[in-house]
């Protein structure tokens, strides 16, 4: 096997980065943010489609005992990361609840306003971090699986997925 050859891929990997700056930038922030989100969602959808196609094309030829073992390990690792993530979320929200119960020291209007703001800010921050965690895990699964199946495709001589 030639390990120096690029791994097979469905994605149009020849696309030049310079080509996207023009269509994806209007220099109107609200529009640019929307376009960026759209572009990233396209990438996400394309990876999902690639994974599905690769599964159909490659796995029937490449799924041996080692491959099954790899998939089982991936499944177990995903479960473990989900549990870790949820444990962190629960700890975070319990901490927030404890903080929200500590209102006795807020003896002035200004202090009370600060406490209420802190509660809201902490909640927004935690929700944002949890969203990041979740999206990160989803991307990790997608990229990891696609990478793995591309290597399997190369092992069995499938040049293009």
């Amino acid at each position: 096997m030639d390990t120096s050859a690029p791994l097979p891929s469905l994605l149009p990997v020849g696309a030049k980065s310079g080509a996207r700056t023009a269509p994806y930038r209007t220099h109107v922030p609200a529009i640019d943010h929307g376009l960026k989100a759209l572009a990233l969602q396209q990438g996400h959808a394309l990876r999902a489609m690639s994974a599905a196609i690769a599964t159909v094309r490659v796995l029937p030829r490449a799924l041996d005992k080692e491959g099954l073992d790899d998939l089982w390990q991936m499944q177990a690792a995903i479960g473990e990361r989900v549990v870790q993530m949820q444990r962190g979320w629960v700890e975070g929200w319990f901490g927030w609840l404890r903080y929200s119960g500590q209102i006795d020291g807020a003896n002035t209007m200004a202090k009370l306003a600060e406490r209420e703001y802190n509660l809201a800010a902490q909640a927004v921050q935690m929700a944002g971090e949890q969203c990041e965690d979740l999206l990160g895990l989803m991307e990790n699964i997608q990229v990891g699986y696609l990478y793995w199946v591309s290597r399997k495709a190369q092992d069995v001589g499938i040049g293009v997925i």
Binding site: P6, L7, S9, V13, G144
Partner: protein, 364 residues
């Protein structure tokens, strides 16, 4: 010697340095850069210390991760090279070793054969949640695939450490922590373990580092726009007392900090530098990790080059990481962060040449 400090910052000077005694170590992004610098200039080093770092050009493992190269490299960095789900979704050491050989054949880095005589220390903590042990194991496999004999590699993976360099300072974070500044209390000095493995017969560390701790100007080591490098304007160097007094140094050791560890690093809070809430880190990594005490008793000069953060400016590097995914590359489709031509590697090597007195004279 360096010039007199101006506004507290001196020009990095030249010292008497015995040939064949230079080495490098780093943590996290500094560890990835350690591997890159060692590969690019393997003729200049006798060994390296890699704490929680991955193999060479790891971000190019899977170009098919995204349509655009820069997106693909980021995705590779985040997932394949830092947090792979399993060994089979992590770096492929054999493939990356082949890539390194091709890079050497293309003349972009020094010959691979130089590595065969080098000593390498590689560490991963069993609790590391930032750069997973799977990745670091592939770093060991990478060196072995390139012909570094197993007896010259110290691979340590049995400490319950998080993502960190460990120290013997109980004021540092708990050993299993995975949080900035990534300096944890581990009942030992990891820097001593690294230097001990690379150099072998070292004197015990000095009780106090009584040499000169210098701030030097890093801008003079960069050709072209400095902002693109994501390097700080100031770097640090430790010169042992005896070397400052004229004795030859045994060698130069370059220490590369990790992300969120530069001396001027300030965290970004909701996209803004949190200067009001948090002072810069200062010289904690430079003075608190034990390198200087070991350098003092063994006549080693230590360089602490500095990277700096930038969120949304010329480069996208908010955490002040060294470039191991191509953010300094002018052409993201053909990144050059790994070769002798890479802007950070050129600067780092120029610093080494200056200190050892092997730099070509600067044109007037």
């Amino acid at each position: 010697m360096g010039s007199e400090p101006r506004n507290g910052t001196a020009q990095l000077g030249a010292y008497k340095v015995e040939p064949g005694g230079n080495s490098i170590s780093g943590l996290s992004s500094g560890a990835f850069m350690t591997v890159q610098l060692q590969m690019a200039h393997s003729a200049s080093f006798v060994g390296a210390g890699v704490i929680a770092g991955g193999p060479y050009r790891c971000v190019e493992s899977f170009r098919g991760a995204a349509a655009f190269a820069e997106d693909a490299y980021i995705l590779n960095a985040e997932y394949i090279c830092m947090a792979p789900l399993t060994p089979s979704t992590g770096p492929d050491a054999r493939r990356l070793a082949d890539l390194a050989r091709q890079t050497a054949e293309a003349g972009l880095i020094d010959p691979i054969d130089n590595l065969k005589s080098q000593r390498v220390y590689i560490f991963t903590g069993t609790r590391d949640a930032v750069v997973h042990p799977v990745v670091v194991r592939s770093t060991r496999a990478f060196y072995e695939a390139l012909g570094v004999p197993a007896e010259q590699i110290a691979f340590v993976d049995n400490r319950p450490a998080g993502h960190c360099i460990y120290t013997n300072n109980p004021d540092d974070s708990p050993l299993d922590a995975n949080r900035p500044p990534y300096i944890n209390f581990g009942e030992g000095m990891q820097s001593h373990d690294i230097l001990g493995h690379i150099y072998g017969d070292l004197e015990p560390p000095a009780h106090t580092a009584v040499g000169e701790l210098l701030r030097f100007d890093q801008t003079e080591f960069v050709e072209g726009p400095f902002g693109r490098t994501s390097m700080g304007k100031v770097g640090w160097a430790y010169v042992p007392r005896a070397v400052a007094d004229g004795e030859p140094a045994r060698g130069v050791h370059i220490v590369l900090h990790g992300c969120k560890q530069g001396h001027a690093y300030v965290d970004y809070l909701n996209g803004r530098p949190a200067i009001a809430q948090q002072p810069p880190y200062g010289a904690r990594y430079i003075t608190g990790t034990g390198y200087n005490e070991m350098a003092e008793s063994n006549n080693l000069i230590v360089l602490y080059p500095q990277a700096t953060g930038d969120d949304g400016g010329a480069v996208q590097n908010p955490d002040g990481c060294w470039d191991w995914w191509g953010y300094t590359s002018a052409d993201t489709d053909a990144p050059d962060y790994y070769s002798r031509n890479a802007v950070q590697i050129r600067a780092l090597h120029a610093m080494l040449q200056r200190v050892t007195g092997t730099a070509a004279p600067r044109p007037h």
